[in-house]
Amino acid sequence: MRAVLTIAHLTLAEARRRRILAAALLLGVAFVLLFALGFHFIARDIRAHGSPAQQRFMMSFVVMAALYAANFLIVMTSVLVTVDTLAGEIASGVIETLCTKPVPRWAVALGKWLGCWVILAMYAALLCGGVLVVACLVGGYTPPNAARGLPLLLLEGTVLLTLALAGGTRLSTLANGVTVFGLYGLAFVGGWMEQIGTLASNTTARYIGIAASLLVPSESLWQLASHHMQPPIVRDLGIGPFSPMSVPSPAMVAWAAGYVLIALAVALRLFHTRDL
């Protein structure tokens, strides 16, 4: 375990020293400030002209739009932070002196996963926490079930982070990035197929979407999170772009958690069995 923590610490130190943390922090704060500015003026107008129901709907809409953008950034960051962590060190040969130390290879890979996950968690906390704090302080609005929804966004990032780690054990950095973003694209399109299939009562399209979600359960986690974090009337009526027509089953959360564990186990195994 000590080796895992040492590698995780090194991964965090690398992110700090190479200014990855600084860039994420700076632009994360800029994201929250921009949202705060826009939300301040929107909330002022809503309060002046809208009924309480309209106010609630509009605030929910703006907060969900911000969380949608935050979710996209979390997805990107989870892949970009992880895509090179093993692949790059394998290509450069840095990994050789690490793996000739009395440390099992699984500890090296797990330490890197942990280090990247901590960065992801901090980034997600900054963006999503910032949006919620601004919504509460500026608009007096808190989305419902945030404690249920936000962990799903972190889980979504964790799914992609783990895929990027697994890919990095065998693929070059670029091939790994293209592959993981491609898989995310499949899940994204699959999610929309499921929604449109449900809306059009097309069972085949819906099943294609569900199959894509099982392959990469990232988009369905966002759908479930957005379902939880909207006012009941909005989500029950299915109004607004962030209300899924087909709400993913809670079992999808268990599947995604199991998916992370399986993908991580596969990553550790692939790294263990490869030649360096």
Partner: protein, 299 residues
């Protein structure tokens, strides 16, 4: 009797249809400086990587310090300097050594003291707090050497340790190897610089096409002399007679050449020729360099 520092039995590595190492069988006793020589593509680096567990053998096995290769227990007592030492360039010299020390399970003041001693040994004490990306090629090689010596390993693999070093740097490496040997550390040295190998190694193995084709102790090589004779006459009976003093007797360019084991053979040859009534106009003995042997074995 102590286990050898290194034992390999019929190690083989195939990369698809290509065989990188065909049959690596060798043993290195503790405290020996062992040279591992061969042309490019002979499978030297792959062999080292198999012994260190970086590359999984297709067949065969081995032990490092009595532990099976590939396991973490053996690696706790082994140091390794790769041919192209790469590292996290954003780290400082001391940080790199501290990080690798922690991976070895070291810590606290003993690690700090060890780091200072190693930095002093590789003459990087002043540069220890500089970022590694600012290091010259030679400094990078030296910090890599320090990394390989962390934790006082009992066996050290050095893959081209003098690559990129100036003559002073090479001397430093030679001194480090001498220190390690005096402490009983076994060294597995892969180098193309045969003159370095000749000075530092006790024994060498020549690898060709993934197989150890010859092993020799360098003390024995020093006794091996190539003798060139110019005689007023010679024939098959003379060549046959000279064969009692050495080996590989042959006629080339009007000279007779043979290998003898030690210079005390030279007066014996001269006396025998005089006894046969053969005029000796020229006798020259030349010690065969490791390069000569290398060319003969793998050329």
């Amino acid at each position: 009797m102590a286990e050898p520092a290194l034992e390999a039995q019929a190690l083989r590595k195939d990369f698809g249809p290509k065989t990188a190492v065909r049959d690596l069988t060798l043993s290195v006793p503790r405290g020996e400086v062992f040279g591992f020589l061969g042309p490019n593509g002979a499978g030297k680096t792959t062999s080292i990587k198999m012994l260190l567990g970086l590359v999984h053998p297709t067949a065969g096995g081995g032990r490092l310090l009595g532990e099976p290769i590939g396991g973490t227990r053996a690696r706790a007592r082994v140091g390794y300097l790769p041919e192209h030492f790469a590292f996290h360039e954003w780290l400082r010299g001391r940080e790199l050594l501290r990080f690798h020390g922690r991976l070895l399970g070291l810590g606290g003041s003993s690690l700090d003291a060890g780091i200072e001693a190693l930095l002093r040994r590789v003459e990087l004490l002043e540069a220890g707090d500089r970022c590694l990306r600012e290091y010259s090629k030679g400094m990078k090689q030296r910090i890599g050497l320090a990394q390989a010596l962390l934790g006082e390993p009992e066996l050290v693999f050095l893959d081209e340790p003098t690559s990129g070093l100036d003559p002073l740097g090479r001397l430093l490496v030679r001194d480090v190897i001498r220190d390690l040997k005096s402490r009983g550390t076994a060294i597995f040295l892969n180098s193309h610089l045969l003159s370095e190998v000749e000075v530092t190694c006790d024994r060498v193995a020549f690898v060709k096409e993934g197989r150890v084709v010859r092993e020799m102790t360098l003390g024995a090589a020093e006794r091996d002399l190539e003798v060139e004779l110019r005689l007023d006459r010679y024939g098959p009976s003379v060549l046959e007679g000279l064969a009692r003093f050495g080996s590989d007797v042959r006629e080339e360019d009007g000279h007779v050449r043979l290998h003898v084991d030690g210079e005390e053979r030279l007066p014996e040859v001269s006396r025998w020729l005089a006894g046969q009534g053969i005029g000796l106009y020229h006798l020259a003995a030349r010690r065969r360099s490791l390069e000569d042997v290398f060319l003969e074995v793998v050329g």
